[in-house]
Subunit: 173 residues, 2 copies
DNA sequence: CCAAACTGATTGCATATTGCAAGTGGTTTA
DNA sequence: TAAACCACTTGCAATATGCAATCAGTTTGG
């Protein structure tokens, strides 16, 4: 196994799209970020076993390392469990919310997305930048210790909508 | 050489982010789309030689095939030149503008982007969705034969800003 | 108290993808 | 009519991915 170790930026060019792709342009990095943002997975094992797509452990380990090196995630030891490690979003990671929202919006409009997995994308699309902004504030509370934002939880609303859609499509199946 | 041939969707899951990544999640696909959108490159040779990053011809051929299969680009023979082939954006491809704008915006805020290559991202970021929408209308005119939108050209403005920034940074160098 | 389960990973191996350089068969240009 | 140009393709080496097994230490349950 030879896996990207240093995750040094390759620096093919100073173009912002290129540089973003050098960090995030592969099949798994944004999947990991997605699961942390929308699924609140904070531990290696959760990311490994509770994702739809089934990432393998070596790839997950490599991507977590890469994302930490790129400043998208931070890695901290869990003080109450000597083996547990927590992965959190940094501000840089939280600012991927609009990117993911647009990418999800594009997917839901143009690709064969399932009803239950598309519901969050549709809500984010309808809510637009104001909703993304509220969600990002909530993530700052969950991951960075910022003060808890007032009002209803976007995270909970997204989750509830997903669970309702999943229950519904389970019934009609 | 074994290169992705069929470019069949792998269908790891019906999640919109995952499906988008199955189409676009690699180091080159969005680079190609970027050059077509912002650089108006329409031919294989232009894409091959005039890009900052230096894609190789086999990868370019494969990605163009993939993007055409995915309905992001269309491929047409040039009637005045039996060998020339034109690649154009489809509506699906044009709708990647907000995705690229957000990705570029994230890159310009968080990665070591060069001044001249970052200027377009900054303009798109400031202009926000209204500017993106005008730009998309212009691309519909350029690629889909829609009526030419009134008012100043976003494409030209972006290009002019880039050339000015490039000239400036050449002077101070 | 101790075995079983759980923790974040790592290793070996097979396969798939990427990158580079050269080449293909044809067309257009000077 | 030769040189340049056209969209690719091919061969090969290097790199990345995917799978299954495994690791060493930690915590939990009986």
């Amino acid at each position: 196994m030879v896996v990207r170790q240093g995750s040094t930026l390759q620096l093919r060019s100073g173009c912002p799209i290129n540089l973003s792709l050098e960090v995030l342009g592969d099949r798994w990095s944004l999947i990991v970020v997605r699961d942390i943002i929308f699924g609140d997975r904070r531990h290696f094992r959760e990311l490994l076993t509770q994702s739809e797509e089934g990432i393998s452990s070596n790839i997950l380990a490599d991507r977590l390392r890469t994302l930490v090196d790129a400043g998208v995630l931070s890695r901290t030891d869990d003080p109450r469990h000597k083996q547990k490690v927590s992965y959190s979003l940094t501000e840089r990671g939280i600012q991927l919310v609009p990117v993911l929202a647009q990418l999800a919006g594009w997917g839901v409009r143009h690709l064969p997305v399932s009803d239950e997995l598309g519901i969050r994308a549709r809500i984010l699309d309808e809510g637009g930048p104001p909703l993304w902004s509220r969600f990002m504030d909530e993530l700052r509370w969950m991951h960075l210790g910022s003060p808890r934002p007032a009002g209803p939880s976007v995270f909970d609303d997204l989750q509830a909508a997903y669970l309702a859609a999943a229950a519904k499509s389970a019934r009609t199946r």
